[in-house]
Assembly symmetry: C2
Homo-oligomer: 232 residues x 2
């Protein structure tokens, strides 16, 4: 069953290097000779593997320096319900592209239990670089006070808890993969076709009432999701 064409050999190296690079294990990659020894592979196989990772935008070849790691990813836990600024630090800012009362489409109304909603669209920046495009529908009574709040600087979760005086409880999260169309790519500052997380998140107040339905498009080159799973 074993097949070992050239592309397979390169893949075996790239698959192991990719998460190392993304986890921040390297600033500059070890040279080809060292990698070949580590992987018990030929230097040609290492070169092919690095070419795959350069094409994915994870590495860049720099003359006189070697192969360097491009970009940085931020870790987001998939265990606790938390906003971006809470999780990643205080360097988040939001460009508010839309904030208005709106009769929700049926799919949204069914999940929030009302078609009286506040519709927010925010382009979120982390360290002055776009991270995600967030579409949020809030139940009208919960969302209306937020129209006067600091939507540019604060997480919606924190604002909901402050204005309602009640804590949030749980959220159902669905994570999908998509790629950026031309318009999304322009907004998020990535090439057309770049990989994105498409996250749908329905958050409830502690009493179980759903109040916040979000559709997030998050740059795949800037975020990783983490979870601890249990066998039982």
């Amino acid at each position: 069953m074993e097949t070992t064409p050239r592309a397979d050999r390169a893949r075996r190296i790239a698959d192991v290097l990719r998460p190392q690079i993304l986890a921040g294990a390297y600033e500059t990659l070890p040279d080809e000779r060292a990698l070949a020894a580590d992987f018990g592979a030929s230097r040609n196989a290492v070169r092919d593997a690095l070419a795959v990772l350069v094409a994915e935008g994870l590495l860049e070849r720099r003359r006189g320096v070697g192969t360097v790691v491009v970009g940085e990813r931020h870790r987001h836990p998939l265990s606790r319900l938390a906003g971006l600024a809470e999780t990643l630090g205080g360097t988040v800012r939001n460009e508010v592209r839309l904030a208005r009362p709106e009769r929700a489409p049926a799919a949204v109304a069914a999940r929030l239990g009302t078609d009286d909603t506040i519709h927010l669209e925010r382009l979120r920046y982390l360290d002055d670089e776009p991270l995600s495009l967030d579409r949020t529908y809030l139940a009208g009574d919960v969302g209306r006070p937020l129209l006067a709040a600091d939507l540019a600087g604060r997480d919606v979760f924190a604002l909901i808890e402050e204005t309602t005086g009640r804590p949030l409880g749980t959220a159902d999260v669905t994570v999908r993969v998509t790629t950026a169309d031309a318009h999304t790519a322009t907004l998020l500052g990535v090439p057309e076709g770049a990989g994105l997380f498409a996250v749908e998140r329905l958050s409830r107040l502690a009493d179980g009432r759903p109040v916040d339905l979000e559709y997030l498009l998050v740059r795949g080159d800037r975020l990783t999701l983490h979870a601890v799973l249990d066998r039982r």
Copy 2:
């Protein structure tokens, strides 16, 4: 702050329809007139939104039928540690592309605590369609008995528990987004550039010893990940 060019209006519809489609809410989409009424939008905006979703490969226009949903996604919980066949039913088969003892590269050895490993590469099919390309490094003593086991038909988790007689405990999971290079695309049966989940998963026996390090490339058009998050 509000900007509403044509592309923004289309996006507002596409962002809400996308997860509905992926969750299996429709076989055939409601017609443009009905969608326009539901979203309080023009038919032009609906048409633009559907064009975005056709380009993403979620919808197809069929003459005389309308706009139909293409493909189907399988739900995978991000809360319990489970193999593919256990989670998705009995229709999984694996093409074993590699299964051999190997001295692990340093990055793998550091996580498994040994460089004596069994290296598996499997192309996994669900309902006779490729789903993921799984690279697995097993600690040698745990993995060696699996070389004689039914790797084509069974999940590695179940095989580990059977051959060691010990249950698995927890796993650390990291989920990233990547896109398919030409070689991966061919193996997985997707267009070059298609969105993929890149999953790294380190599983431990119940006593805490790490024994199974996996690098999975999973078709983004066939899987969604689900989690319930808690605010506390």
